[in-house]
Symmetry: C2
Subunit: 159 residues, 2 copies
DNA sequence: GCTTGACTTAGAGTCAGCTCTAGAAACTAT
DNA sequence: ATAGTTTCTAGAGCTGACTCTAAGTCAAGC
């Protein structure tokens, strides 16, 4: 079973332009060509493509993905290097997810800020008297609700 | 209390170039200037900067962050729009985190793949007999271990 | 045989998000 | 006062990741 660039493009929802770009950047050295020079993807190539898409999803730059594919093509001497590469990016991803959780929590505190403002009809309930500046006690109040067991996601929900 | 662009840059670990770029893109309309035209950041401005950094972290494009800041400057008539904006990006972020969890799981299965190959001294233990193609049963085996209660993160750990 | 459509390459163009340069003006320390 | 540092603007330059164009090749259907 073999597939044209168009069929692979369709299957993976990646444009043929992008697939050729990846090839040019050295990400697809495993892809065969027919007599006319056209790319023929094998079933096994989808294992590589899956790894490539995974690493892209993990925000690994194209060049580094190329380095990993190089390791793959070299053979058993690079097994440890490949394992280490994946470990490095596993850790980076864990770190990123923790960071995104903070970001999400912040978004929810701001939602609560606007929810309460909406209910009051004006943002000024959060200001220090006579100013346009937010009272730091407002954030503290939200933090207290969370410390007392409320879920940030729920606190932000309107009505 | 007011702060120069250099002090803000230092505090937030953002280059002054970037801060000026954000200003140029309309993200910092709230920043005052002194008689000489130099930016003077107020304490309250850090609330805005915190929101900007949060939205950046959530991968919101600079232009859209500008739209949100515009809403903030307009006053109480935009409270609902601001709430909706945050809700939209909260949802996008939740979706992204779910996707990243899948990516992480995939990375861990690949780590297990290389761990077992390393222990065998060769990747060929995963190949279909007489080929260089990965046996689909290998992934199924990993999935079975997970279904039987093993943690993907643990399965990938070496030694 | 001829058109249509998918493919090929090299190379140009685009976009976001910075990042830097140049030249001038303004603070800061001695 | 003067040297050094910081800031200002306008605008150029850079990087990564595509995205497309042009000109040509190839395969399939009428």
């Amino acid at each position: 079973m073999s597939y044209s660039i168009g069929q692979v493009s369709e299957k993976l929802s990646i444009s043929p332009y992008t697939l050729r770009y990846y090839d040019k950047e050295g990400l697809l050295p495993f892809v065969d060509r027919n007599e006319a020079g056209r790319r023929r993807f094998k079933d096994n190539d989808f294992n590589f493509l899956e790894v490539i898409m995974c690493l892209k999803e993990a925000d690994v730059p194209v060049k580094q993905i190329g380095d990993f594919i190089d390791l793959c093509m070299t053979g058993d001497t690079t097994l440890q290097a490949r394992y280490d590469f994946l470990t490095e990016h596993e850790q980076a991803l864990e770190k990123k997810m923790a960071q995104l959780q903070h970001t999400l929590d912040f978004l929810r505190w701001k939602k609560w800020y606007y929810k309460t403002a909406l209910q009051a009809g004006t943002e000024s309930i959060h200001y220090l008297p006579g100013t346009n500046h937010v009272d730091p006690a407002v954030h503290a109040e939200f933090e207290k609700l969370v410390a007392d067991g409320a879920s940030p996601a729920e606190l932000g929900k309107l009505a």
